[in-house]
């Protein structure tokens, strides 16, 4: 019972951090492409902030994991963290750290593709609910986490974009 609960908790954590990104990305791209901006700096900043925002969310996730393990971070603890559940998802989150590099910063589609991996977890559970393998209350709670994820990703994107706009105005970047 304890192990299945911790596996479910891991799943919810991944959904809570990353599943909201695709809809934030889609909304951002809609704002960039379909809205007439007086100041072209803002849509440009949004586009160039998308990857970075996702990278910040990845950092927040790893920060939470390290904070949980602290102060007794041992090699065996790290190994068991990856072995426990959703190993590939967790390993991919290490790979996501490359999104900070210039090549990926300019190509936010990679961040979208990466986040779809986690949105699939939510969709899988939705399908389980529709086929009767999961109860509605659990799904309802999971969707609440999904909306918190949308909120988190939106706030991070907004913050990163704002910082970029400010720094661009000061001609620092």
């Amino acid at each position: 019972m304890n192990q299945s609960f911790s596996i479910f908790f891991d799943r919810l954590t991944l959904v809570a951090f990353f599943s909201g990104y695709p809809i934030v990305y889609a909304l951002a791209m809609y704002l960039i492409k379909d809205v007439n901006w007086k100041n072209p700096v803002i849509p440009q900043s949004i586009k160039s902030s998308l990857s970075l925002a996702y990278f910040v969310v990845v950092l927040l996730f790893w920060g939470m994991i390290i904070a949980d393990m602290f102060p007794s971070i041992t090699f065996s603890k790290i190994i068991s963290f990856f072995k426990d559940a959703y190993s590939w998802h967790k390993i991919s989150l290490i790979a996501a750290l490359v999104l900070a590099f210039k090549y990926f910063k300019a190509r936010p589609n990679y961040a979208l593709l990466h986040s779809l991996f986690f949105l699939l977890l939510l969709l899988e559970d939705l399908l389980s609910m529709l086929t009767g393998h999961m109860d509605k209350l659990t799904m309802n709670s999971e969707f609440k986490l999904y909306f918190y994820s949308i909120l988190l990703n939106s706030i991070v994107l907004l913050s990163v974009t704002s910082i970029r706009v400010v720094l661009q105005r000061k001609r620092l970047i």
């Binding site: 809809i23 791209m29 492409k33 969709l123 609910m129 509605k136 969707f143 909306f147």
Partner: protein, 265 residues
Amino acid sequence: MKKINHQLLLILLILVSGYGYIASCAHEDLVAPAPASTAPVIKRGTAVHLPGNMTAGNTAEWKLDKVHSNVMWKTNYMATAGYLTGRFNQFGMHNVVDAEMLNYNTTAQPVKDTSWAFYEADPTKTYFSGYVQINTSNTGEPGRDGGCNLTTLGTTAIVTGVQNLTVTNLAKIKTVKVENDPLSADYIVTLELTWQGKLATPLTKTIVGKLKYVAKTTIGAGTASTYDVFGLQLLFQFNCRDFGIASTSIADKIDIECNMNFNNK
């Protein structure tokens, strides 16, 4: 193409998210879980133990195992210091009536220990009576036990081979009511303590005590000499000043602990 893709993606995600949220709505008011109860979980069995005629070999009849039982007292020395303790060497579970308050020339139990019954599930049927011979108080100090203790407690010295159940040497208890303790599997006992002490005539005081049942266990299971045992523990307290005991070497309050063991040999 890209424009359509992003719009399509946005619409798709909004639709899926909205559908998922609406579909997972239970359309029911959440029923709050029942509040956790802080009441203790008490489990009582259905054991019934009766003395009958205490016939040896009759496993349905329970006999007081006096040798493995005890009645102990304790009180604060000088009312403020540590405990002064002792035990009564002679005691029994019999409702000693006036006609039985005599000296008995025997070293065995002078009267049958049959004034009791125990019903674990129905304390209204449970009752017991008991007595102690005051002059058998044993503190481990013979000088006290055979000296000042006797005068303090208003009794006389032990006569070898005689069980003294006379009115000046007898303190007895008798249950008035036995009921379940709401906070544990024990029982609350209302009993009458009758003792003359240093008074002119015996006084009866109503006291509330606690009875604990130590569940039946089998000794030597599978052997030819197997038998069962169970225990009853009674705790109560009384004020010795009520019975005219004036000694300042002891406190007002005397704690009594009776540990009675029974077997069905």
